[in-house]
C-alpha cells in the first residue's frame, strides 16, 4: 500500500526531504473564513506539522457556500469558526497539531502567538489587520502570504522579509472602502484559486524552496479566465516606516478605545471594548430574555431581537447582526451590554 504522502512526495517540487521538512513546520492562518478554510484544509491534508488558526467569528448560514470546513450543524449552533475548523481539520489529519484561537486578532495578542511560527497565511478580510500582520512580520522576520478577493477577482502576493517590498511599500496609505464581498459578492472559485496560490507558495517556503517563491503580484479573474503578473522590482522603499532603515512599525501601536467595525459580507457591526472583559452569561441571559430569544454555549451568547441579533463573546466582543449602521449598533451595545 502506498504511504499517505507518496503522491505528494513524488512531485519533484516537494520530494521526500521536502515532505519531512513540511511535517516539522508551523503555519499560522489568520482568519478562518473562506481563504482560511481552504488553505487550512490543503495544508493539513499535506501534513504540515502544526497549524494555528485564529478567528473571532461564529459560523453562519451565509458562510456555507464558500467556507468549506463548515456544516449546517455549525451554522445552526453558532459554533465559533476556529473551533469548528479544528474539529474538522483534526478528522482530516490527526497527525497535524491544530491549535484553535477564538479571539479578535490585534497587535498584542498576535505577537504572543507568532513566536515559533514559520509562515503566516492571510485569511483576513480587512486591511487594518493586514497592516498589523505586515509590521509583525517585518519585526520578527517572518514571511507572510497575502490573499484577497471580491466577486470573481482575486489577488495574492508573498512578502519575504528583507527581500521583497512590504505591504506598506506597496500601499503607502491604508486603503479604505476597498471592494469587499459586502458590495461585490463572492463566488467560491475565486476563493479556491486565491487559496491555491497561497498554499502553493506556503509549500515552497515550508519545504525550503524559497528561491522558487513568486516575486510578482498576481491578479486574476476566475470568471473571465484572465491572469496578470505585476513585477515589484524597485518598489521596496528604504524609508518605509515598516521595513526601511528607520522602522517604527506604526501599525503595532495600539489604539486605546472602544472600536467599531463593519464586517465584510456580513451586514454586521463589531464592537470591541477598550479592555478585555468577561460577561456573566447567566445574568446576561436573564436580562436579555425579556427582549428576544437567547441561546448560549460556553463561548458565545446570542439574543435575537425582532430586527437584529446580538452575539456576545467571552472576551467582551459583541457582534450586532442585521445592521450596518454604527449608531444603531452603538445604541444597542450601550443599552444592554456596556455596564
Amino acid at each position: 500500500m502506498e504511504s499517505r504522502y507518496a503522491r505528494q512526495e513524488r512531485f519533484p517540487g516537494i520530494g521526500s526531504q521536502g515532505q519531512q521538512r513540511l511535517q516539522q513546520k508551523h503555519v499560522l492562518i489568520l482568519g478562518a473564513g473562506a481563504l482560511g478554510s481552504a488553505n487550512a484544509e490543503m495544508l493539513v491534508r499535506a501534513g504540515v506539522g502544526t497549524l494555528s488558526i485564529i478567528d473571532r467569528d461564529v459560523v453562519e448560514w451565509s458562510n456555507l457556500h464558500r467556507q468549506q470546513l463548515y456544516t449546517e450543524q455549525d451554522a445552526e449552533n453558532h459554533t465559533p469558526k476556529a473551533l469548528a475548523a479544528k474539529e474538522r481539520l483534526q478528522r482530516l489529519n490527526n497527525d497535524t497539531v491544530v491549535k484553535a484561537y477564538v479571539l479578535d486578532a490585534k497587535a498584542d495578542n498576535l505577537e504572543k502567538l507568532i513566536r515559533d511560527v514559520d509562515v503566516i497565511i492571510d485569511g483576513s478580510d480587512n486591511f487594518e489587520i493586514r497592516f498589523i500582520i505586515n509590521d509583525l512580520c517585518q519585526k520578527y522576520s517572518l514571511p507572510w502570504i497575502f490573499g484577497a478577493f471580491a466577486g470573481s477577482f482575486g489577488m495574492t502576493y508573498t512578502f519575504l522579509p528583507e527581500k521583497s517590498p512590504c505591504l506598506h511599500c506597496l500601499l503607502p496609505v491604508l486603503p479604505s472602502g476597498g471592494m469587499s464581498c459586502e458590495t461585490s459578492g463572492i463566488i467560491s472559485p475565486a476563493v479556491q484559486m486565491t487559496a491555491s496560490y497561497q498554499t502553493a507558495e506556503a509549500m515552497k517556503l515550508l519545504t525550503g524552496r524559497n528561491e522558487e517563491v513568486r516575486e510578482s503580484l498576481l491578479l486574476f479573474d476566475v470568471w473571465k479566465a484572465q491572469h496578470q503578473l505585476i513585477k515589484t522590482a524597485g518598489v521596496k522603499k528604504t524609508n518605509c516606516p515598516s521595513c526601511g532603515t528607520e522602522r517604527t512599525y506604526p501599525y503595532l501601536v495600539e489604539e486605546q478605545h472602544t472600536k467599531l467595525d463593519v464586517l465584510c459580507g456580513r451586514n454586521t457591526v463589531q464592537i470591541r471594548p477598550a479592555e478585555p472583559r468577561s460577561y456573566n452569561f447567566k445574568a446576561l441571559a436573564d436580562t436579555l430574555r425579556t427582549h428576544g430569544e437567547v441561546r448560549q454555549n460556553n463561548h458565545v451568547l446570542t439574543c435575537a431581537f425582532p430586527d437584529c441579533k446580538l452575539s456576545v463573546f467571552q472576551d467582551g466582543r459583541v457582534l450586532i447582526h442585521g445592521t450596518q449602521e454604527i449608531e444603531k449598533a452603538k445604541n444597542l451595545y450601550y443599552r444592554y451590554l456596556a455596564n
Binding site: 481563504l35 478580510d125 480587512n126 506597496l170 496609505v173 479604505s176 471592494m179 496578470q228 515589484t232
Partner: protein
C-alpha cells in the same frame, strides 16, 4: 496613446476591460484624475498602478505606447 487596463470594480464602473487614451507625457496621478472625471469613477486615490506590468506610483510619467493597469485593492477573505 496610452492603454489603460481596468480591474475588479473598475470594469463594472466603466463597463470596459480596457481603453485607449489620447494623452502622452502625463503623470499617473494626472491621468487618474482625468479618468475619474471622464468616466465618473469612484475615487482612484487608493488604486494600485502598474506601468507595462511593473508596479509603479502616482508620480510616474507615462509615455507614448505605455500600458497603465489600475488595480483597486480588494479586501475579502
Amino acid at each position: 496613446m496610452i492603454k489603460v487596463l481596468f480591474f475588479a470594480r473598475l470594469q463594472d464602473e466603466t463597463g470596459k476591460e480596457s481603453i485607449e487614451v489620447d494623452k502622452t507625457n502625463i503623470t499617473v496621478d494626472d491621468l487618474k484624475q482625468h479618468l475619474e472625471e471622464e468616466y465618473n469613477l469612484s475615487s482612484l486615490s487608493h488604486t494600485m498602478v502598474a506601468v507595462n506590468e511593473n508596479y509603479a506610483d502616482g508620480s510616474t510619467t507615462l509615455k507614448e505606447g505605455d500600458t497603465l493597469a489600475l488595480i483597486p485593492p480588494v479586501s475579502g477573505g
